[in-house]
Point group: C2
Chain length 331, copies 2
């Protein structure tokens, strides 16, 4: 196995019979280099399969060509989608991706501190960061983009760019559909209280009920897992007659609720919806709102690179649409 020791700029220069400066110039394209020399250098580079050390280049230029993504997880399809989106945009720009996955609040915060202080990236994307992080003052000179989270306007975090989804419009569209197909009594299996998306969805639910005199609505929560959804639904069904429609925070919750419905012989008798639209919703043929995960990642990365490449530090915000899926399965 050819133990091709990594060559340096200097060695390439030697081989090409010229100086480091010149090799650097042909590498970076900018300045003029005589065609002859350029050709020779390029040939040596090709022969040696040489690529410059991007760490050294980063040191010298101050530009790292690397961005970090710190994510609250990876196993969930949501994270995978977002990260894939980020990766696509980074690869297109020949940038590297530093990935870290917070195992819990504490580890997430530690990763964040390390990444911003060790100065090895040009910018950071935070995917669903824990609330605890945003209780701390924002103290980072790097461009940052926040996904799926919109911090309260304090501690300086409100100056950070965001990519979010329009939970209110999405949930309202879902509720309108349910209403149109006859539902009048609703229950919302809400998500965690510290989750931005969950809060928004709950508010949309409240608003819908408040603006429809002929409708009644209850809220139960907080659930995000299938088991918890099941539990809450069992509990709910014991005390209440079944409603016309059950609007769940996400697909996992809906899956649990569905099981409870089945156990109570209510399958097909209650309209039910989820949110996310992954494998689970597919399998269950569940009406749901499609979370544009990959799009979120792409937008976040594009936004971060635009921030990195510009001197304008004003925060940018992008709101993406949640698309209703399988609405025909509602009735």
């Amino acid at each position: 196995m050819a133990q091709a020791e990594k060559l340096t700029l200097y060695e390439i220069a030697e081989l090409a019979g010229t100086s480091k400066s010149t090799v650097s110039r042909v590498l970076n394209g900018g300045d003029k280099v005589s065609p002859k020399v350029k050709a020779r250098v390029m040939q040596v580079i090709a022969e040696q399969n040489y690529m410059p050390s991007i760490a050294a280049r980063g040191l010298s230029m101050g530009r790292k060509n690397m961005i970090a993504v710190i994510s609250g997880g990876i196993s969930d399809g949501y994270f995978a989608g977002v990260i894939r989106g980020i990766d696509i945009e980074s690869e297109d720009r020949n940038n590297h991706l530093l990935c870290s996955f917070g195992r819990n609040e504490e580890s997430f915060i530690k990763l964040w501190q390390g990444v911003i202080r060790q100065g090895l990236v040009d910018g950071v994307i935070l995917v669903a960061p824990p609330n605890a992080l945003m209780q701390q003052p924002f103290d980072c000179e790097l461009p940052v983009v926040l996904c799926s989270s919109r911090p309260a306007p304090n501690h300086g975090w409100d100056q950070v760019s965001t990519v979010t989804v329009d939970n209110r419009a999405g949930l309202t569209a879902m509720l309108d559909k349910m209403y149109a197909s006859g539902a009048r009594s609703f229950v919302h299996f809400a998500g965690p209280n510290n989750d931005y998306d969950a809060i928004e969805r709950r508010e949309a639910f409240k608003t819908f009920i408040a603006t429809h005199q002929d409708c009644s609505g209850q809220i139960t929560g907080a659930t995000k897992s299938r088991d918890k959804g099941y539990e809450n639904a069992v509990h709910f069904l014991k005390k209440h007659p079944h409603p016309d429609a059950m609007v769940c925070y996400n697909d996992s919750t809906a899956a649990g609720v569905l099981t409870a419905l089945e156990e109570n012989g209510l399958t097909g008798k209650v309209k039910i919806s989820g949110c996310d639209s992954g494998l689970l919703a597919d399998m269950l043929q569940l009406p749901t709102l499609k979370m544009p995960c990959e799009k979120i990642g792409r937008e976040a990365a594009a936004m971060l690179f635009s921030l990195i490449n510009s001197t304008d530090r004003r925060p940018q915000h992008k709101i993406l649409t949640l698309t209703p899926q399988r609405m025909d399965k509602l009735s």
Copy 2:
């Protein structure tokens, strides 16, 4: 928002009234520094929330404290699990993780070339690399670990360390169980021909049939998706009487086969098994072999770090067990 410009070693030294050398020494712990000076330096570091530039440190030490993982994907639960495992081990060692996801063979190979030539990592983990890569001569001086793949002994790739699963033992255990519960005629819905795991499983199937005189077996394939599994099963059931047992390459395939069985009124009449054991198998209550994804990642990372920290370049190999799940649902 405090625009805390990143401080350098030099500035810390100034603030502490000492030299860069000394600050570096307290940072790296090794050499002796007088308690007084050390305390002062540590205080300044704490006050300023200083962390050394790991890129600069890497340049100077030759050690990058960063490893790369190049993966064939991310959306699949398998990839997510492996990467999570790698991340855990890296974080424990204060190493960073450079992640790239190959969109196709070509992009995977390009990522590989870039990573090994740009010299910004100490080692590389390849997760399910495409065959095309291993047709090229192995030319990399960095430690490398291969997950879920074992290249043919050529082009130097056989000198690379691997972490794999014991497909033969796993599948054989599954077949034995099926046999014990009465199955005598088998069909294997095999996976792709260029997939290491698929090949191993197919071989195990062949061996089982060959060593059981009283059994018959057929192989159909190649499938890895649910749709393809469905298609193949429909096709198969048209021509053949249904067998006692259907052994599928993975859970997705099994899911498709299950649908075909249902359409033919055969639900519950054929023993069926998958492999992977993720959300899908859970939902279907499918007997399956559990792929230890996170463990694969952890082992691969641990192996890579041991390779990085040692001068012994001999390849290491680790084989993990596939654990049968829900065997009670077999009959």
